[in-house]
Amino acid sequence: MQRSNTYLFPFLLLFLVLLFCFVLNLSLGSVAIPFNDTLTSILGGQIENESWQYIIWNYRIPKAFTAILVGSGLSLSGLLMQTLFRNPLAGPFVLGISSGASLGAALLIMGSTLFSQWFIFEVINDVSLAIASSIGSFLVLLAVIAVATRVKDTMALLIIGLMFGSITAALVSVLSYFTDADKLQQYIFWAFGSVGNLSGFQLALLSVFIFIGIILSIISVKSLNALLLGENYARSLGVHLKKTRFIIIIATGLLAGAVTAFAGPIAFIGLAVPHLTRQIFNTTDHKILVPAVLAYGAILLLLCDLIAQLPSSSYVLPLNAITSVVGAPVVIWLLVRKKKMIF
């Protein structure tokens, strides 16, 4: 069909840019490794500097893969939400999923001072943090699903998501008021967002969640396209609305929940990437948009992580700050240039 030819070139370009960004992300950091040596190393060759080899394989490759998973996952969940809620401003943050994860993390880190007698495991490490924030995001997700079955109107659901966000934010600020400085700092570091420091097991777990999310999205591609007409039209076209909404919400929750659990709340990627993708691929067809958004999200997060690492310095900036600085102007630019955000 004519369609696949039209989009072959942008896809090829996107794939090449993704590869380039991946290698660039590996080669730059507090220690700059020459581009050529990085390439040689990942292609299985030997490079002279043993420590470079070690840095690339044990530190930077897991980090780059995490960045790809995080960027792709957040962007895809943003795309799903924008179509499901028929709202160009929808994203993982809006449904309250990220705030749910924040509340889980906050309760684990800072709540232990408040409710120390109830806490069974005092050990705060990466795994328990991931578990706590997963539980938090899934509880909010379950609440959203429970409300979604009662409320037919998706606009109302969106506002309810925002309210969940406000409630969790309020609880987090109460917790931070009563907690001690150490714990507060620990929480803030989690909230900064980071794609480094994931163990092999965590990376595998994250990949599984993202993979399931992608599969569910691919299953829903046809229904997502029908939903572009609105729910009543979609139903008249034979879409099983309840089932479709359920699958899309589960996919969204898995993608956004898992990412936030392991990498912290990362802002704006989920909202901005689908819009940026629509600038290149001038289409609304989810068959094209789903893979394009995955690639674009991965590229953007690799670049954001690159900036956050402040190449050739020993400082690392909060990833969340970089994505906001990149993402927020994009949204403003889209609103001003295009007058209205369309999806």
Binding site: M1, T83, R86, I218, I219, V221, K222, N225, A226, L227, L228, L229, G230, N232, Y233, R235, S236, L237, G238, V239, H240, R278, T283, T284, D285, K287, I342, F343
Partner: protein, 250 residues
């Protein structure tokens, strides 16, 4: 059949004693004053919302017995609500009409393609097919939505106020087109409207909803049985049976 809305506590009945049927190849209109339940009736017929009581039959099958994908191959709808994404191109929007027939990921077969192009041709939208929906006028968008319903290739097409916001020429144009579709392709086309005089001139059958009694029949039968006389309060508007039109009392 009665139609209306149910909330958790009560049923709000909008209209009662609805009883009519259309045959293949007939153009039908549902007429009545504002708020009488024309759109509710049409949406109920298309299973966009549930009925309160009674039965709706398509080829003697109750519509509740049909699965949603089976119903989608029998009934297509054109609603008054705006489409969610105006970023769709005309071609993509019309293609979505083939949704009930495509495979799991929505690949269009050669047959699908030809039906889409045929629908675009009937509505004379060839020159607009690569335009985005937000670039279209109301009348053009209405034609695109009708093309989408045609591409869905159903025996029944239901349209909710397809001629509002259009000037007289375009109203007549759309209605004549619906008439042609009904007569030539042997489909049942049913629409709601305020333009009773136009419906009288073009429709095969009309269903007149009034507060206490509803009438159904061919326009000339309805004129003879004086169904239109008490449609509006008599002190403001009277019906002229000879010309089949309404006059304002001065």
């Amino acid at each position: 059949m009665s139609i209306g809305y149910t909330s958790r506590k009560e049923k709000t009945i909008i209209a009662n004693h609805i009883n009519f049927g259309l045959k293949k190849g007939e153009l039908g209109a549902i007429v009545g004053i504002n708020g009488i339940g024309k759109s509710t009736l049409l949406r109920t017929l298309g299973r966009v919302q549930p009925k309160l009581s009674g039965s709706i039959l398509i080829n003697n099958t109750p519509i509740e017995a049909l699965k949603s994908d089976a119903l989608a191959t029998l009934v297509s709808v054109v609603l008054t609500e705006p489409i969610a994404s105006k970023n769709l191109t005309v071609l993509q929007l019309v293609s979505l009409g083939r949704h009930p027939y495509t495979n799991w990921i929505g690949t269009l077969s050669a047959d699908d393609q030809s039906k889409i192009l045929k629908a675009i041709k009937i509505l004379e939208l060839e020159h607009l097919q690569h335009n985005k929906c937000y670039e279209l006028s109301d009348g053009q968008l209405q034609k695109v939505m009708i093309a989408r319903a045609l591409a869905q290739d159903t025996e029944i097409i239901l349209l909710d106020e397809p001629t509002t916001h259009l000037d007289l020429y375009h109203k007549v144009h759309i209605l004549k087109l619906l008439q042609r579709i009904a007569h030539e392709t042997k489909k049942v086309v049913l629409y709601t409207t305020h333009e009773i005089d136009l419906a009288i001139q073009l429709c095969d059958k009309m269903f007149v909803i009034k507060r206490d009694n509803n009438n159904f029949g061919a326009p000339c039968e309805l004129i003879e049985s004086k169904s239109f006389e008490d449609l509006f309060p008599k002190d403001t508007i009277t019906f002229n049976p000879e010309s089949g039109s309404f006059k304002i009392n001065k």
